[in-house]
């Protein structure tokens, strides 16, 4: 049998183009906004571009949910999804938006603070693109599981060395896309700096009294199950940690090192003299370097044989019995948000009170999906709100 190489050549080209188109269509699904269904507590939905207009029409624009209580009080800013591969942070913020209510004061929530981080995956980690939460009625809610850094389609180019503004601390080039090195940000800076500047403007315009940035860390990393604050917030952090211990939740109380620049708690705390700014971390095996199979269940169930072994050998910095399921991590965060409000009142006299909010025990009993609202029977395709870079020239209205 003779092979017609002209025909096989065309076949190879056709197969290549087919794969390219399919992979492209798969990838751009992450450019669409997640379905977020605001619950009874949300009184207003804004966009980050209301505070930093240059973000309008970009993948970096993100929803800002305002939850105003009936009684007047202080303002609490909750940042989730600064790192989009840390679902306990954005998951807790989403439960605030979809389920919780505020009785006193005002809570402002950004569940997907770094929205371009949600539009792609971190290279070479084989992370899932989406993770799902089953609800008690058999339906499920699906959200994007993104990347630690922003999408280079908006942030291009990375420098060889990223020089932090304004402190000139040097980081590796890709940290240029890490929103938690970009604070305090500036309006004419890099894309991440403009996102950070949006948060700075939000702080200024809404007169935020307390800010928490919800993060996660790998189990072999010493700074996990910890709450760290701006030096001014030291008392508040210690009190909140004590309050957590009332619920048998151990959490380390730390001060953000002043030599580690660009972090939300340090920079926003330095900029606003009345702000209490904190960062917290839970234990996420999906980020860990010694994990095994990384499928869409690992971020949710938190069970991993290699971490079981590492825990037996005493290599981990946090308790590991039963793994680190997301309900446990989000449960900690929900309890921590309440502890922070108690501590804020003790330290400053300012009051914020949640109305309906689940506790750690509630999350452990009901799971995460229970706190999300039911999806519409026939979900509409959200379409593309924004496309990056040159694509935008063809879509801008």
């Amino acid at each position: 049998m003779t092979i017609n190489h002209r025909k096989t050549g065309w076949a190879a080209v056709a197969v290549s183009l087919l794969f390219s188109v399919l992979l492209t269509l798969n990838y751009v699904q992450m450019w669409k906004d997640d379905l977020i269904i605001p619950g009874p507590g949300v009184t207003e939905v804004k966009w980050l571009s209301d505070y930093e207009p240059s973000l309008r029409g970009t993948l970096g624009d993100t929803r800002v949910f305002v939850m105003e209580g009936k009684e007047p009080g202080a303002t609490f800013l909750v940042l989730g999804g600064t790192h989009a591969d840390e679902p306990a942070g954005w998951g807790a913020a989403l439960i605030l938006v979809e389920h919780c209510t505020v009785a006193r004061g005002r809570v402002i929530v950004l569940p997907q603070c770094s929205n371009t981080g949600f539009t792609h995956n971190y290279p070479q980690e084989a992370h899932p693109q989406f993770i799902s939460f089953p609800r008690p009625d058999g339906t499920k809610r699906t959200f994007r599981h993104g990347s630690r850094t922003g999408n280079s389609a908006e942030h291009w180019p990375d420098p060889e060395v990223f020089i932090q503004y304004p402190h000139k601390q040097k980081y590796s080039g890709e940290e240029c896309r890490n929103p938690n090195r970009a604070y305090p940000g500036r309006p004419d800076g890099t894309f991440a700096e403009r996102v950070a500047y949006g948060i700075q403007q939000l702080n200024r315009k809404e007169k935020v009294d307390m800010q928490i940035d919800l993060h996660e860390g790998q189990p072999e990393y010493p700074f996990i199950n910890a709450l760290s604050g701006h030096p001014r917030a030291q008392d508040l952090v210690s009190l909140a940690a004590l309050e957590m211990q009332m619920y048998d939740l151990d959490i380390g109380a730390e001060v953000s090192p002043p030599s580690f620049r660009g972090l939300s708690n340090l920079e926003m705390g330095d900029m606003f003299p009345d702000l209490m700014a904190m960062t917290s971390e839970t234990v996420n095996p999906t980020q860990g370097k010694i994990r095994g199979i990384t499928d869409e269940f690992l971020p949710v169930d938190g069970i991993d044989a290699f971490y079981d072994r590492a825990a037996q050998l005493g290599y981990l910095f946090a308790p590991w019995e039963g793994g680190s399921p997301l309900k446990k991590r989000i449960g900690r965060n929900m309890q921590e948000l309440q502890a922070l409000c108690v501590a804020l009142k003790e330290v400053t006299g300012k009051e914020i009170e949640f109305g309906r909010i689940p506790s750690y025990e509630d999350l452990m009993t009901n799971g995460v999906g229970y706190y999300f609202n039911p999806p519409p029977a026939e979900p509409a395709d959200p379409g593309f709100r924004a496309l990056p870079g040159v694509w935008r020239l063809f879509t801008q209205r």
Binding site: F19, V21, W156, G389, V390
Partner: protein, 54 residues
């Protein structure tokens, strides 16, 4: 005048298109089917680079 990085990016795009042209041309000329199959692994990433032109 567009910003410098857009110009550099556009040059990358032209380069990508040229590499794609070379690879596809050689694939069609090739007399070795394994070479043609391996070309798939070269064409896909370059084609995706073109689709994601920024």
């Amino acid at each position: 005048m567009p910003p410098l990085y857009i110009i550099v990016m556009a040059m990358y795009t032209v380069l990508t298109a040229f590499i794609l042209y070379l690879v596809i041309r050689n694939t069609l000329r090739s007399q070795n089917i394994w070479e043609q199959i391996l070309a798939i692994f070269v064409i896909v990433p370059f084609a995706m680079r073109l689709f994601f032109i920024k």
